[in-house]
Symmetry: C2
Subunit: 387 residues, 2 copies
């Protein structure tokens, strides 16, 4: 998957004004599940080890906001650059950081290939990034495309139909795109003010000024751009769905707890990606912060407790509960939800696998934030959501 | 708003296979808030009094399903027609019901203008329908358009960029479209098998076979087509939002209750569309069914009860509660949610307006189905959700 023998960095223009959303907050800063959209796009880049630097270009009034976001979500390898008044001018500014000493006090290493991706396309995967990078290395430029959803038509001056385009011959140009750095930088240096002010398509500049015909790469449906309010709704639902695709089973290091955790993770493996971690509860904070910092947002933690008391009531130590609650509040900022699974050791035994169906229904719910202890009070297993 | 001096009917092709959704259920039959998408589109047409007949064209295997949907949601003025193997053949079949005696045992009155709209565009408003109908009456054909979201490009045979289109010159062709019946029917009769099998654009047929240049009408953002799974998510969120845009305050006919209901509806008017109805509780079922049958889905009913007991506890008669619960179950099938607002008469007095902020937060919640009595147990006003 990793493109071999090529250095890669990325530029994310995030200077748009979001007029089409009808709101005052630019769409890249709109909160989706409590986190700004731009943070998802940065996260998507950051997860990929072979991307060296991530340049986020924002308008001057949003530089402080962007720096706060980077701090809050612990983003790494990100440089914030001030944008221009148009999309092309912003991208050009982002590229200059690699090329012009006077533009940046800290000149970054010029990459062989630069990815250009939108801050408002949060779901980009390594596969398509790798494909456009390899195609750009070979062809000089490459971009993701998608089939047209609607027929495209040309109107005449009188507001009537002039002609309609044959849908099969055309494609929608999407992001990510990738370029040999020297090709796209040359194109920006050569192009006119008219291009910089009214153009939007980088592939077009590479063709016009460097005679580089970009390779077109079929992208997946999740590359779409958040443009309207309905797209924010859709992004939110997708993120909620993703949240329930991966589980990390965290147990106390005590033998009985670790054993239950092992059985649980084995049972879940047929349905979901599972990682099992056993650590001492007292070391929860520092250990888990390390484990989780490298992970993506679609991650659910499970805390398994054992109650070995003789009677039939559940119990959990106040100190332990406080520690988990604190941890859950921390991870929630990163869209990681912590569920507590309190298993009555005596009634349950420790050979029988936990009730996976109940568990899956808990973590597959589309609205995890709605889950409270009351909801599941009468279930066989008692679950608590500590957020 | 009503187009004057013109008879109008509508054809809704609903024969698509929904391949792009990645599921087996065609998208028009996917449930959104528990109700099939096609039912929203039919409802949107049905609400408009000047549309005479609504022809829904479905594939033969879905005729029974469609008839069940019509029955279940009480749709009126709808005729189900068997589709062809392509979109154009399905629309043609829908039009034949108005024109060919041998095709239908019950020949419908031929309209002067026919609207063509997709079953997977659930949010069409009277305004745009009226505009395309009036434009079709004048120009012979008309269709809604939207700005392009992405740049459109043409690829060469080698999979590389050939050229990109200048975005400002082109538009996306959307639905609804409208035609003089004789124009579009003539176009379908004239067109080739190739057109019927591979074409998708009715405006193109009207131009090619009847020399009719359709008038293009700027549509609103909500005309988009449900194509991918994310569009279903978006539709669901929009429907949930709409649900909390209108309120009907229903009170008992007793003077005190009606008085409280009046104050409540007056207080709410600054924030939401309100209709106030006072009826005797015993006649609740039949009266309300009549009131609500003409309404669209985005409707919330409020039931105001007065508790005049001397002590500080709330109370409501079991019989009354049972009757409301039954009613709420019925209306929920139509996506109308009934909330009960139990007001302690003595403590509250009857001059002070009810707590509108609390009330708005209740009905503006995006997930009304999650509201249970427990959630609000400790509030000043007691609300119950009877679903
Ligand atoms: Mg571009
Ligand atoms: Mg058409």
């Amino acid at each position: 998957m990793e493109p071999r023998g090529v250095s890669v960095s990325a530029v994310l223009p995030a200077g748009g004004s979001g007029e089409r959303l009808g709101g005052t907050t630019p769409k890249q800063f709109c909160a989706v599940q409590g986190r700004p959209l731009v943070s998802y796009a940065v996260r998507a880049m950051e997860r990929i080890s072979w991307i060296s630097d991530i340049i986020v270009v924002v308008s001057s009034e949003n530089i402080a906001t962007m720096k706060t976001i980077i701090e809050k979500y612990g983003h790494k390898r990100v440089t914030v650059v001030e944008g221009g008044v148009t999309r092309h001018r912003s991208i050009f500014n982002g590229l200059k950081v690699f090329a012009e000493k006077e533009f940046s006090s800290h000149l970054l290493q010029k990459p062989e290939v630069v990815i250009i991706h939108d801050a408002v396309r949060p779901f980009v995967e390594e596969d398509i990034l790798s494909k456009v990078v390899m195609a750009a290395k070979e062809h000089g430029a490459a971009g993701a495309i998608r089939p047209l959803v609607s027929t495209v038509i040309a109107s005449a001056a009188d507001g009537c139909l002039d002609h309609s385009l044959e849908r099969a011959r055309y494609r929608a140009s999407e992001m990510p795109q990738a370029f040999l750095f020297d090709v796209i930088y040359e194109a920006y240096q050569q192009c006119t003010d008219y291009d910089l002010d009214y153009g939007t398509e980088c592939l077009h500049l590479a063709l016009k000024y460097c005679k580089t015909n970009a390779k077109l790469v079929e992208g997946t449906t999740d590359l779409w751009k958040v443009t309207y309010k309905r797209d924010l709704y859709a992004a939110e639902s997708i993120i909620k769905d993703n949240l329930s695709q991966e589980v990390c089973v965290i147990t106390d290091a005590k033998e009985t707890a670790a054993q239950v955790g092992f059985l649980l993770s084995e049972s879940l493996k047929s349905q979901i990606k599972v990682e099992a971690v056993s650590i001492s509860q007292s070391k929860c904070d520092s250990h888990l912060q390390n484990i989780l910092s490298g992970q993506c947002y679609n991650f659910v933690c499970v805390n398994v407790h054992l109650d070995t008391s003789e009677n039939n009531s559940f119990s959990i130590g106040v100190e332990e509960l406080t520690s988990i609650k604190k941890f859950a509040r921390e991870t929630k900022k990163k869209n990681i939800l912590v569920y507590g699974l309190l298993i009555q050791y005596k009634a349950w035994g420790c050979k029988r696998p936990p009730d996976v169906i109940l568990f899956m229904s808990l973590i597959k719910r589309k609205y995890p934030e709605e889950i409270g202890p009351n909801r599941l009070r009468n279930r066989k297993l008692t679950d608590s959501n500590y957020k």
